[in-house]
Amino acid sequence: MKTFKGKVLFLDRSDINTDEIIPARYLTEVSKEALKPYLLEDLKLDGFNPKSDIEGKGVIVTRANFGCGSSREHAPWALEVNGINVVIAPSFARIFRQNMFNCGMIALELPEEAIDHLFKNYREKETEIEVDLSSNMVIVRSEGKEERIPFSLKAFDRALVEAGGWVEYANKKY
């Protein structure tokens, strides 16, 4: 299983599409690792600088409909090779969400209010988030304090994460 914790990258915009996450011009890369420098290169978001803002982050907190558009699994891969295995949002585009779990990563849906709360209280601070699958808690740590937010995950999604992905799961079962 992958690890699901790290410093938080806050992306305060809805409908961030997979072309923004990883532009098509890099889809000719044959290795996942080669995608690393290009993550979020075309993101339309004031004040965001991919060159400096991604380094060292492990979790993304963002707004609704993250990952819409193209089906490219290069989007989760580009996150993965940058050490980001978790995206937390109020909702996701279907294919992106499935791709995350298929790769053994987590696309975690939290209620709109919880996301607002995270943005309001933590976006200006250095914050670390851990998604703890054993207690079903999102653990938020910042300035020496800790907060816990409960979540629920469908059994099937959890099984994919635990199996390490859909290929592992399906190859055993079907």
Binding site: D19, E20, R25, S71, R72, I95, Q98, F156
Partner: protein, 428 residues
Amino acid sequence: MGKTLVEKIFETHVIDMPDENVYVLKVDMVFCHEITTPVAIDDLVSRGLDRVFDPTKIKAVIDHVTPAKDTQTAIQGKILRDWARRHRIEDFFDVGRNGVCHALFPEKGFVRPGYVIIMGDSHTCTHGAFGAFAAGVGTTDLEVGILKGVCAFKEPKTLRIEVKGRLKPGVFAKDVILSIIGRIGVNGATDRVIEFSGELIEQMSMDSRMTLSNMAVEAGATSGVIAPDMITVEYLWPFIKNEFSSKEEACDEYSKWHSDADAKFDEVIVHDVSDLEPLTTYGYKPDQVKPVREMEGTKIDQVYIGSCTNGRLEDLRIAAEVLKGKRISESVRAIVSPATPEVYKKALKEGIIQIFMDAGFCVTNPTCGACLGMSNGVLAPGEVCAATTNRNFHGRMGKGGMVHLVSPATAAASAIAGYLTNSELFKG
């Protein structure tokens, strides 16, 4: 209790339910192209699982960048080609026979009402126009599809859109779907299937229906389905004529893939298009839609006619009607990319290619190319393109470029004018 078209397909294809509302479906077709499949192939090889579940149910094409433009795209093509040969995948379409996947595969007769189809491409929803459950998936789903012939889906609810009214002259399926996306938003149908219905749809050609279904994903939909009817049968007839004694019999048989009259839809909306005028997008999201009239005069650098949305024969015919006897503006470069060799050949025969060339268009081979900013018409930063494609995302046709999504008629008229404008076909 009646069932929806999609419920019927799920019910007949389910082999496992690993969780509440999660269906593992048997797939009838797995479509492949050279951008998302090679990674799946490499991964299967490295796991020692280099097998395919059924070579007759896998169809593959090199379409996104073709002929190869550099070493990397040549390698992508080669991985797909070698794999197709090694597994005896007979329906593999290489340079010379290749075209944009969602135009090519229906044209080859690989789609049937009631099928479950997956492909590592979000616009796989296009094939829903035939009454199939066709959905785009990522590389891992594709990999499992290739290996096992199965794919897991949450059963999508159905958003039925009843399209009401008649279109004014010069208003097309592209304008209809843009108006729908503009109305419900890029998130309006997420985790749902859109079922297009209504009198207008019943009269639409398959080419137009595919334009509608193609862009369902721009509203987040899993697929865009249309109940099969005589128009579907006519299109498929060359491929199904040995299965049925008459077209009526085929139509009758396919009617089992209709939503029942008492089916329960998640939502039904009535969408009146009587007053619809030609539309364009203005921002970086496909739901940012306005009448072309309001954007009239917006300067453009390039016009692009093609793609899985609007690169079919009907689209080229419409554009040619506008272009006939005219020249494009000196300030614009214009590109037309017939979606398949068949479209290209027919367009040649009908004199359409001549019209495009006389007008000053560059005619490319069938390929995705510029649609996703990979080749054949990439924009420079700051440049603006009127395109018949489906995505106006930031950087989609080239870093820093701006895309306005329009119908072929609007694209052609704008090429002549040098700025966004309605075509003469539009009688507002």
